[in-house]
Every structure is written in structure tokens, then in C-alpha cells.
């Protein structure tokens, strides 16, 4: 457990209600220095409410939110953060340099303009009006605005939505560069591969609660399933009745099996069908883990009710 001074942001038992709706129901969240934390969850899980609390946009109804040990509504705390929000329509008639200069003016010790531009890969866009840029280019400019103040902590809310693969890869590289500098990052995303590629720690939220928290590997390990695919004549229903087979189903000429004991199932498969071919064995990914976790939500809801 790292020392307290290592904590850059924290939610402690945070509760937020909107009328009868409980958006956050006692959320604990800790972010350490130099860490990239991905917050995952379906819509309405409480991701943006958590971010809004940490940014000081709203106040918790219970518990507390802290940035660098202070109230996020104190401007001194926010002078150490950078922000990229999902839906911020920036002034379309301003040029990219003018936007960068404006946002940098809010910070005590901002990066030189060229450095911010280079980090976000927008060196060629500086003189263009913001409104004339494509969606992906605008996202990159917003990313440059998030890091231009030399922040110690950056909030990125769905940063790669609407980006093509190339642009997304570039932004991932830029995020890694930020973390390498010692900057902490909070990333909310719908793309599980993004969390898988970048995050040291993943928090999965659902219905206003933290469902799971840990490394990507630990999260995967919560769903100890392996996928087996092969071409075989064996009957899916028969295989499904084997011990430790979770699912077995036919997919065209192939049989797909999910199991928690890949080795013994494989042995039995190969014994049962000598003609078996095109064998693939794959560990379940974050996607399966995520589906598995959020599938438990109704049960949790019933418990609460």
C-alpha cells in the first residue's frame, strides 16, 4: 500500500443523488501518482458522475471527493489537473494556437505551445480554425488542451470516440508518454481494448457502485474461462455435458467451447475425435470479464432493494 502522499485523487464513500435516482452509491476510488486508471462501465454506471465529483463540477451528497488532498472546487487543486471532456463544443472561430494559449494562461507553469502541439501530434493544425477540423483532429486538439498546463493529473473522458485506428494509436502513444513523465491519468472508455492496452488498473462500475477493481490481469482472472475452437464432428450437446464445460455450441463447421479447465477438456476432445483439426485455444479477454461482471448487476440491485 503506497503512502498517503502518493494519492493524487480520491473518492471516499461518495454518494450522489439526482432526485429519486442514486447515481453514486458509496463509491471509493483512489488514484496514485503516475498511474493510468481506466474506469469502465455501461452507460449510467456512474462514471461521469465520479469524474464530475473529482473535477468539482458537483458536490457529493455524502462522503467526500479530494484532489491532491483538497476540495476539487478550490482553484489551486484544479491548477494541477488537465481535462478532456466528452462533449465540449469549443469556440469554432478560434484558431488552435489561440485555444492553446487561452487554456495555458490558466496555469502557473504551462508547457511551451510547440511542446503541447508536438505531444498531441497537432503541429500541422496550429493555424487552422477549430471549426474547420475533422472530429478526430478536434479530439487531438482537446487532448493538447488537457496537457498544455503541465498537469500532474489528466482526466480523459472517452478520448478516442470517433477516431480512426491510426489516430487512436497516436493518442495511445501520447498517453503513454504522459504517464512516462510521471503524470497520472484517469481514463473513461467504452473500448475495452483501450483499457487493456493502456491501463495499469481497471475499475469496473455498474449502477453507481464499484463492481471490481484491480489490474487488467486480475480482472481477467475473475473470469477463469478459456475458449476452445476446433473443427470436429462431435455433438455440441454431448460436449456441453462434459464436466467443467461452461458452454459448447456449434458455429458453422466449428465447435466453440468455454471451459474453466482447458487442459482436461482438450485431452478428452483429442481422444474422442482423432480427426479434430484447426484447434485454437485462447484465454478469455477483458471483454468476457466485463460482460461477466456487469451481468451480475441485477443481483446486486435486488440485494440493495
Amino acid at each position: 500500500m503506497p503512502a498517503t502522499s502518493d494519492v493524487v485523487a480520491r473518492l471516499s464513500a461518495a454518494v450522489k443523488r439526482y432526485g429519486p435516482l442514486t447515481a453514486l452509491d458509496g463509491v471509493d476510488l483512489v488514484l496514485h501518482r503516475g498511474e493510468l486508471l481506466a474506469v469502465l462501465g455501461p452507460n449510467g454506471a456512474g462514471k461521469s458522475t465520479s469524474i464530475s465529483l473529482l473535477l468539482g463540477l458537483i458536490r457529493p451528497d455524502g462522503g467526500r471527493a479530494e484532489l491532491f488532498g483538497r476540495d476539487p472546487q478550490q482553484i489551486d487543486a484544479r491548477r494541477r489537473i488537465g481535462v478532456m471532456l466528452q462533449s465540449a463544443m469549443l469556440p469554432i472561430t478560434l484558431r488552435v494556437t489561440e485555444l492553446l494559449r487561452l487554456v495555458a494562461s490558466y496555469y502557473p507553469n504551462p508547457r511551451p505551445l510547440q511542446e503541447s502541439a508536438a505531444l498531441a501530434g497537432i503541429g500541422d493544425l496550429l493555424q487552422r480554425p477549430y471549426g474547420k477540423l475533422s472530429g478526430g483532429q478536434q479530439r487531438r486538439v482537446q487532448f493538447a488542451l488537457a496537457l498544455c498546463g503541465r498537469p500532474e493529473l489528466v482526466f480523459l473522458d472517452e478520448p478516442t470516440v470517433g477516431m480512426d485506428i491510426d489516430a487512436r494509436q497516436k493518442l495511445w502513444a501520447a498517453m503513454r508518454a504522459l504517464v512516462a513523465e510521471g503524470c497520472s491519468v484517469v481514463l473513461t472508455t467504452h473500448y475495452l481494448e483501450e483499457a487493456e492496452a493502456l491501463a495499469q488498473r481497471v475499475v469496473v462500475m455498474g449502477k453507481g457502485r464499484v463492481l471490481s477493481e484491480g489490474s487488467v490481469d486480475a480482472l481477467r482472472a475473475q473470469v477463469p474461462l478459456t475458449r476452445i475452437r476446433c473443427v470436429t464432428d462431435l455433438d455440441a450437446a454431448t460436449v456441453a455435458n462434459w464436466p467443467q464445460v461452461a458452454v459448447a455450441e456449434r458455429d458453422g463447421g466449428r465447435l466453440r467451447i468455454s471451459t474453466s479447465a482447458a487442459e482436461s477438456v482438450l485431452r478428452r476432445l483429442l481422444d474422442a475425435d482423432a480427426a479434430l483439426s484447426e484447434l485454437e485455444v485462447q484465454r478469455a479477454g477483458l471483454a468476457e470479464a466485463f460482460t461477466e461482471l456487469t451481468r451480475d448487476e441485477p443481483a446486486i440491485e435486488q440485494e440493495a432493494a
Binding site: G69, R70, R79, E98, Y106, P108
Partner: protein, 265 residues
């Protein structure tokens, strides 16, 4: 719990104090970009500049040639007030309504923008636009209609425009906090045009029905009109009362609007 938070605070290196010069610079940068973005936006600037100048050219200069210089002088104030109202109402109201809707206001609140810089920037932008409108009308009045003005009167008229925009900024801001998004321009026109008419900016008040004449002091534009007429020596007496009423309007609208803005964002 307390002990933890205290140790956190003391272990944190204090690199966040911002020199006064940089804080000031942030206010300047905010005001500068607010002015730039609207001056570059023709759909904002053109109506603000064209309507009062075209009306003044038509009704104040071309159509009133036979009626003597006093008409051009009187209408210089009327269309001046008409022209000053719109950067306040629309510059504040429409942009606030759109920026609350489009997430820009939320974004700025999350950033370490110094307090009030957002509103101050919009205010300066509206004052600048108002000054441009008054200067254009003055140039037309002096150059085309040969209205006789002393330097003092002309300067006071510009001052009336630059400060007179403030009650309308506050009113626009209030509307901007009540309406979100695309509905704001329509709502503001419903306020702007009838208010101009009922304050006697288009038709002199004494030609309006008695009831409407008695209603006129309700509108801030009526008082700004009276103030302008006093500046040009066409109205005697109670200018200071009008000034106080305008101050009151501004304060009340502004206080309600900031409270709403703080509460609902």
C-alpha cells in the same frame, strides 16, 4: 480521517500558487479570445451592426430630411439605445444558452479558469461591440445628417453606449440561465423587439396609446433612452433618477442570474 487529510496536504509540494501577473494574464486572455471569437462570427456581428445603422439611415436621415436636424438628433439616441441593447442581450444571452448546452461552460468550470473571467470576458466583448455601434451611428449622424454635437456630448454618448450595455448584459444573462440551447435567440427577440417598441425607440412615446406610455418606465431601455436624450440636451431634469434605475435593474438581474448559474450550472 482528519489526520489523514492534514498529512496529505502537508506532504504535497506547493507548486500551485500562481503569480498575480499570470492570474491577470488569464483574465486578459479570456477577454481577448471572447472578443476575437465573436468579432470573427458574422452571424453575430452583422445583425448587431446592420439593424441599427440601416434603420437610422432610413428613418433618421433619408426619410426625415424635410423635418429638420432635431429628428436626426433625437433618432441618433433612439437607434443608439436600440443598437446597444443587442450586443448585451444576444452576446450574453445566446452565447450563455448555447455554451451551457454545448458543454463549454462545464469544461471551463472544470479548468482552473480564474473566477468570473468567463463573465467578465463576455461583458468586455459586449461593451466593445456597443462602442462600435455607437461610433458608427455617430459617424452617420455627424457626416450624413450634420447633427451638431459638442465633443463632450459625443463622448458622453459613447460612454452611455459602453456602460448602457450592462443592464442588457445582465438581462441577457438571466435569460441565458433560464433557456438552454437553440431556443434562446427566439426568446430574446421576443424580449428585444417589443421592449424597443414599448420604450419609444421606434415611434416616439407621445404617439403611443396612453396606457403604453405609462408602462414605459418598466423597461430598462426607456431609462437609457431618457439618459441619452439628456446627454444631447433634449430632455431636462431627472437623468440621475434614470441612472439609478438602470443600476438597480443591472444589480437585480445579475444577482438572480449568478444565483441560478451557481445552482444549476
Amino acid at each position: 480521517m482528519n489526520a489523514v487529510s492534514i498529512s496529505t496536504a502537508s506532504n504535497t509540494p506547493v507548486v500551485t500558487s500562481m503569480p498575480f501577473r499570470r492570474v491577470l494574464g488569464a483574465y486578459v486572455a479570456e477577454a481577448r479570445s471572447e472578443c476575437l471569437r465573436y468579432m470573427r462570427n458574422p452571424s453575430f456581428m452583422l445583425p448587431i451592426l446592420l439593424f441599427p445603422t440601416m434603420f437610422y439611415l432610413l428613418f433618421g436621415i433619408v426619410l426625415s430630411k424635410s423635418e429638420g436636424p432635431d429628428v436626426a438628433r433625437y433618432l441618433l439616441v433612439s437607434y443608439g439605445v436600440f443598437g446597444v441593447m443587442s450586443p448585451g442581450l444576444f452576446g450574453f444571452g445566446v452565447s450563455l444558452a448555447l455554451e451551457r448546452d454545448g458543454g463549454l461552460l462545464t469544461y471551463k468550470r472544470a479548468l482552473p479558469m480564474p473566477p468570473g473571467a468567463y463573465l467578465l470576458g463576455k461583458m468586455l466583448m459586449a461593451m466593445l461591440a456597443a462602442a462600435v455601434v455607437i461610433l458608427l451611428l455617430l459617424a452617420m449622424g455627424l457626416g450624413l445628417a450634420h447633427v451638431a454635437l459638442t465633443v463632450r456630448q459625443a463622448s458622453l454618448l459613447v460612454l452611455m453606449g459602453v456602460l448602457g450595455v450592462l443592464p442588457f448584459c445582465a438581462l441577457g444573462m438571466l435569460v441565458g440561465t433560464l433557456i438552454k440551447g437553440q431556443g434562446a435567440p427566439g426568446a430574446l427577440n421576443l424580449l428585444y423587439l417589443p421592449m424597443s417598441f414599448l420604450s419609444g425607440l421606434w415611434v416616439p412615446l407621445n404617439q403611443l396609446p396612453k396606457a403604453l406610455q405609462q408602462l414605459a418606465p418598466v423597461w430598462p431601455s426607456y431609462h437609457l433612452h431618457q439618459l441619452g436624450l439628456a446627454v444631447l440636451g433634449m430632455q431636462h431634469g431627472t437623468a440621475s433618477a434614470d441612472l439609478l434605475v438602470l443600476l438597480g435593474f443591472t444589480a437585480v438581474f445579475f444577482v438572480i442570474a449568478t444565483r441560478r448559474l451557481r445552482r444549476y450550472g
